[in-house]
């Protein structure tokens, strides 16, 4: 899969991207042009399935800016993704730690962001 085909919400695409290292097999979320574990210079960009498990959650009542105030309250979650990395995102209200979830992508402020909802069984 080429880098250009991978959808990444931080670049406006409706997808979660991650990276892995062909040398040490490490996996991580925040983009780099090297492996932060072994220093390998050619990490692989990959598309995540969007499936995962809720690791932590909070409902934000007090938004940081006037523009975001209209969205409050909103739920922020940490999700352990199936591919082996952790991501911060929005979440459906009422999610609990350990819930199996899947990602959708929504408008928030002037951008698109990931939001996790309960996964069907």
């Amino acid at each position: 899969m080429s880098a250009t085909a991978i959808l990444d919400w931080t670049e406006g695409g409706a997808g979660l991207a991650y990276q892995h290292c062909p040398a040490c097999q490490a996996r991580w979320y925040m983009h780099r042009d090297f492996c932060p574990h072994c220093g390998h210079a050619s990490p692989v960009n990959a598309q995540a399935s969007g499936l995962g498990v809720i690791y932590a959650h909070t409902e934000v009542t007090r938004a940081p800016t006037e523009i975001l105030r209209q969205y409050a309250p909103y739920t922020i979650v940490l999700v352990d993704c199936a591919e082996g990395f952790r991501v911060m995102a929005h979440g459906q209200a009422g999610l609990r730690i350990g819930d199996r979830v899947t990602a959708e992508f929504i408008e928030f402020g002037d951008r698109i962001i990931p939001r996790f909802i309960a996964a069907g069984d």
């Binding site: 909070t58 909103y74 995102a89």
Partner: protein
């Protein structure tokens, strides 16, 4: 070897009309007077940063303003851990013979110098600019995520975290310089506005104006010096999304390094000064360092264990939660109180035994850790 030979702490709250350099100067003036030193005696200067006065060279901007001509000057940025990191740096500079008397000073008009939105937006930037901040995450939200894990893992209820806010307010009620002195109950905390669930307004430290300064010296110089016996740090992550293990953020590693440097055990510490930006911060730090069993910090607070007449007094000035939080000087107030306690100058708050003190600060989202161990001489 180094000694704290002078300290100065301003009241926290509103200081209308005072700016960063003004508050840093006010605190430095108090510290110099306490140490019995003049400007000419200061040959080292370390300071942090100010969100209301962002400057590439805060240490030399302050030196010029205050009228110092240091041989060594240095600005440090480690978020909430900065204050104790400055003291550690001053200790190492003195120990290495770089300077004889290092002034550590901090101050900021964080409350009156900007809007609340501006403060929240600036502080949220310790989050990741690409992966976290665009989600509308805030500092309370980052810590609330940690709190959700903590409550889930150890079966702790929000009411038990609230005990830590009740305790610090009890302490602040005995200090005339504290921003909030009116006693509160667990019900008051639970009924206060939710900021980021499970954290309520009274689980969060306020935004304050204030300042605090110390002189760290090679020789004792006066009758109220305490010795800096050991220091340590740990930095495992910056962003909460990237924290590897939420039961080991780095507090225990930092504490272990300071304890090893001092040649003492954590059980030896008689007085505690622990960073408390949120009730969850204090619970996590106390428990990771091993000062209470996991999930028990709130219960210990409720039982009076940390009160000035308790088994192990802690944050007897009221901590960040009630004395106030003005940035770099925020945690330095914990040290100012420890210094008063260790030199028998804490008045009505005086504890019986402050012969050995353990201090711990964190910056970011439990990201940067600094531990200090002080002893009476």
């Amino acid at each position: 070897m180094s000694y704290i030979t002078g300290g100065g702490l301003l009241p926290y709250g509103k200081h209308p009309g005072r700016d960063t350099l003004g508050l840093m100067s006010d605190a430095a003036t108090l510290a110099l007077a306490d140490a019995g030193l003049d400007r000419a005696d200061i040959d080292g200067l370390v300071c942090g940063y100010s969100t209301t006065f962002p400057h590439l060279m805060l240490s030399t901007a302050f030196a010029e303003h205050f009228g110092l001509d240091p041989h060594y000057a240095h600005g440090v940025q480690l978020g909430g851990a900065t204050g104790f990191a400055l003291v550690m740096l001053a200790h190492q500079l003195v120990d290495a013979g770089v300077a004889r008397n290092v002034l550590v000073t901090a101050g900021e008009n964080r409350m009156t110098g900007q809007s609340r939105d501006a403060a929240m937006t600036t502080l949220a930037q310790v989050g990741h600019s690409r992966y976290e901040v665009p989600l509308g995450a805030t500092i309370p939200a980052y810590y609330a995520l940690v709190a959700s894990c903590y409550c889930h893992e150890y079966g702790v209820r929000a009411e038990q975290l609230a005990e830590l806010a009740v305790m610090t307010r009890r302490h602040a009620s005995m200090h005339p310089g504290a921003q909030f002195r009116e006693l509160i109950t667990v019900a008051d905390v639970m009924n206060s506005k939710t900021i980021a669930a499970p954290l309520k307004l009274l689980d969060c430290c306020p935004v304050s104006d204030g300042g605090c300064a110390f002189v760290i010296s090679r020789t004792r110089g006066n009758t109220h010096a305490v010795r800096i016996r050991g220091t340590g740090q740990a930095h495992h992550h910056q962003h909460i999304s990237a924290a590897r293990d939420v039961s080991a953020f780095g507090a225990a590693d930092s504490a272990a390094r300071a304890l090893a440097a001092a040649g003492v055990k954590i059980e030896d510490a008689r007085y505690l000064a622990i960073y408390d930006s949120f009730t969850i911060t204090l619970a996590i730090l106390l428990e990771e360092i091993g000062l209470t069993p996991r999930g028990q910090a709130g219960e210990f607070a409720r039982a009076g264990y940390f009160d000035h007449d308790g088994e192990r007094p802690m944050n007897t000035h009221g901590g960040l939660l009630s004395y106030g939080h003005c940035g770099v000087a925020g945690a330095m107030a914990h040290l100012a109180e420890a210094y008063l306690q260790m030199t028998g100058r804490a008045g009505v708050r005086q504890v019986k035994d402050a012969s050995l003190a353990f201090l711990h600060g964190d910056g970011g989202v439990l990201s940067s850790h600094v531990s200090l161990i002080l002893e009476q001489v």
